[in-house]
């Protein structure tokens, strides 16, 4: 084998190398590779995707607002990534199990999150916002990349059990540098585990541009591990849906893991604690604003005469309702009692912790707090 490398990507022209279904102006493009995964997509499905994205953007904005108002400790906005999240998540089967990072609000929405689920962790009430078994989704993961290995282990379990489920790991462009993510590819490939890796390349890891992690397409890493990969326009919800269907089909058929890089852009700050003005300029933002995923699908639907103003108003109404419910759930939350700090550390009794709990209970009682 002779020396070669994958081509250098100019990150400003990132989308040149991606698979697409919808052009930025909404035009439907032929895609011999992906079209077969979209045979069943009709206007209803498109409108549902549109609604998901609109609702998601509204929920996301409400999260930011709640944080600004002191109701949440932090919020990690996903504005700009609606297509990447909704498109890939809508391809999932109910039995699939998702291992997200912390920014997958859209995936939560698709998995059926309840209004309070979006905020419970960010508010600091609980470590995990929802029941993983019910949502078929692991708790949000803050340690960058750690969840990718969990997905692989889950996938190994699926293979054991002989079912047709797939384990899905979501992670960012920054995460690709972590050892864990690479080990996850090694293990998934070695065991041919039914795992789909979804890398949302949103161009930033806090203040670091993706070029610091890699000057080459991230999707180009997977083949070296024996994992087929696809690089898609992450602001094209149909491309994301189709690519994810390809990946899931591959994994579900027992052919092992697959990898998707969805090239998108984080329009907001890293989190509400971040000030992106310190490290990026408006030109790039402007460039990506013109590639907005919701506007693109809207343009497509409008051109096809499948989107009325009434419908758009109705969707906006649904979005506002979702945001209202989320806000109400947030404001209505009560904090667990002091001794709850001791709950759930162990599944079985632990004498040392029991002693501490007793001591602290006595202390609180002595000071009239319990």
């Amino acid at each position: 084998m002779s020396p070669h490398t994958t081509p250098i990507v100019d990150t400003h022209n990132d989308l040149e190398l991606t698979e697409r279904i919808l052009a930025p102006d909404g035009t439907r493009l032929p895609n011999p590779q992906l079209d077969r995964h979209l045979a069943d997509i009709d206007a209803d499905v498109l409108r549902a995707l549109h609604r998901d994205m609109v609702v998601l953007r509204r929920i996301d904005a409400e999260g930011v607002a709640l944080q600004r108002q002191g109701q949440l400790g932090l919020w990690a906005p996903c504005q700009g990534q609606e297509a990447a999240q909704i498109g890939t998540a809508r391809a999932l089967a109910p039995q699939d199990f998702v291992f997200p990072s912390y920014r997958e609000t859209g995936v939560m929405l698709v998995r059926g999150a309840q209004p309070g689920d979006y905020v419970r962790m960010w508010r600091g009430e609980e470590g995990a916002a929802y029941d993983p078994a019910v949502m078929r989704m692991a708790p949000l993961q803050i340690i960058i990349g750690a969840q990718t290995l969990h997905a692989v282990g889950y996938g190994v379990g699926i293979r054991h059990d002989g079912t047709d489920e797939v384990a899905v790991a979501y992670f960012g462009d920054g995460a690709t540098s972590q050892g864990d993510v690479n080990e996850a590819m090694v293990f998934a490939s070695s065991y041919r585990a039914p795992v789909v890796f979804v890398c949302q390349n949103n161009h930033w890891a806090i203040s670091e541009p993706v070029g610091l992690q890699s000057q080459y397409p991230l999707a180009g890493r997977a083949p070296g591990f024996g994992i087929p990969s696809m690089r898609v326009d992450g602001n094209d919800v149909l491309a994301c849906l189709a690519a994810m269907r390809w990946a899931l089909e591959h994994a579900r058929a027992g052919r092992g893991p697959a990898y998707i890089e969805a090239v998108t852009y984080r329009m907001g700050p890293h989190t509400t604690a971040d000030d992106p003005k310190r490290y990026r300029d408006d030109t790039q933002l402007e460039h990506w604003r013109r590639l907005d995923p919701i506007a693109r699908l809207e343009a497509h639907l409008r051109a096809a005469g499948e989107l009325t103003d009434e419908h758009v108003a109705d969707v906006q109404e649904q979005a506002d309702t979702a945001a209202r419910e989320m806000r109400a759930a947030c404001l209505g939350m009560t904090t667990r009692p002091p001794l709850a700090v001791f709950d759930g550390v162990y599944a079985e009794p632990h004498s040392g912790l029991q002693r501490q709990r007793d001591e602290y209970a006595a202390y609180l009682a002595a000071y009239g707090e319990v």
Binding site: A146, H150, G153, G157, H160, F187, D343
Partner: protein, 344 residues
């Protein structure tokens, strides 16, 4: 009852656990065809097949992270870390995931993972093959930590660890792998003492030597030697390092009033510090002299030819006992100058 080595007892414990519950799966480097570098998983691949005895790629974080995913799926993974010094690449997955997921999810996601670690020194090994990292895990809330010292406990505690719904770091003193003892393979787990309890390995009245792992044997030897000098030492084998069974410990200390805590691991913020701080809290008025630590020095594990000057042995335990008995507080004067001196 059958006589067998500690290594064979572990093998029997794994076999039994695999038979008892088909959710039990083993993961590790070289555990399949080879049966592990210490042969602890010998024969298990043949009996249970490659779906349950899983040779892994060479990456410890990957192994433990995969085990976490299997636990999410309802499995009970048993991980073998090949040597103590190779657990550190998995530290993040252990501390941030294995230890915290049950708490994070308020008990909704169980992490019944057992991480077996061939452990500690005394075998003349190369660097990184003689580490005693137990204090790191004891300090990590959410984990249980067990260290065995004899074949029977190896068999029983390993089965208990695997059966536990909590994650257990399970230390196997590798220099005792070939050490023999009686094991009751037929006894039911229900009859066994709970995993969290200490064991009085020898009763005595003059002083209590508290230790665990391979040092239990050393302490028993010391007790035998002390007996010749007319001294009666009680030896406690902690077995469980988190939680520590302070009921058993305190009862002994209240009788003897004198304590030595011994381990191979280095001293600063080690397990002996924990035991002594707790004993001081629990038994202060019973103490007739300051509890002493007999431990490895605060040095990286030294090259093999020098390890005997690092590992506490019988003589160092007896020396500490002498100081306890004859010259209470002898240290407080002796080290004073040192403490005030080289302060850097």
């Amino acid at each position: 009852m059958a006589e067998m080595t500690l290594g064979k007892a572990l093998n029997a414990g794994l076999r039994q656990a695999l038979r008892d519950d088909d959710k039990v799966v083993l993961l590790g480097e070289d555990i399949g065809t080879l049966g592990g570098v210490f042969r602890i998983t010998d024969g298990l691949l043949d009996e249970f097949g490659a779906k349950r005895i899983i040779d892994t790629p060479l990456a410890e974080s990957g192994i433990v992270g995969t085990a976490v995913g299997l636990a999410f799926r309802g499995y009970r993974p048993v991980v073998e870390i090949q040597f103590d010094g190779f657990v550190y690449p998995a530290f993040d997955q252990i501390v941030s995931q294995v230890a915290k997921l049950h708490y994070r999810t308020q008990g909704r996601v169980k992490m019944p993972i057992t991480i077996r670690i061939p452990w500690a020194g005394g075998i003349g090994a190369a660097e990184h093959h003689s580490e005693s990292p137990e204090a790191y895990f004891v300090h990590t809330a959410g984990l249980r930590v067990v260290a065995v010292s004899n074949p029977q406990d190896a068999y029983t505690c390993l089965r208990q660890a695997i059966a536990s719904d909590d994650p257990v770091i399970f230390f196997e003193p590798k220099r005792l792998y070939h050490h023999k003892g009686e094991v009751d393979l037929a006894a039911s787990l229900a009859d066994a003492p709970p995993m969290g309890l200490a064991r009085v390995a020898r009763s005595g009245t003059d002083a209590t030597v508290i230790t665990y792992g391979a040092m239990v044997g050393t302490a028993l030897d010391a007790a035998a030697a002390a007996e010749d000098d007319g001294l009666s030492l009680e030896v406690i084998d902690l077995r469980s390092l988190s939680p520590v069974d302070y009921g058993t410990v305190a009862a002994s200390v209240r009788r003897t009033g004198r304590v030595v805590v011994a381990h191979e691991a280095s001293r600063e913020a080690g397990m002996a510090a924990e035991v002594i701080a707790s004993i001081t809290e629990l038994c202060f008025e019973y103490l007739e002299s300051p509890p002493l630590r007999v431990t490895g020095h605060d040095i990286p594990y030294p090259p093999a030819k020098l390890e005997k000057h690092h590992l506490p042995d019988l003589d160092r335990i007896l020396d500490a006992v002498d100081r306890l008995m004859d010259r209470p507080n002898s240290l407080s004067g002796a080290t004073d100058a040192g403490a005030n001196g080289g302060q850097r």
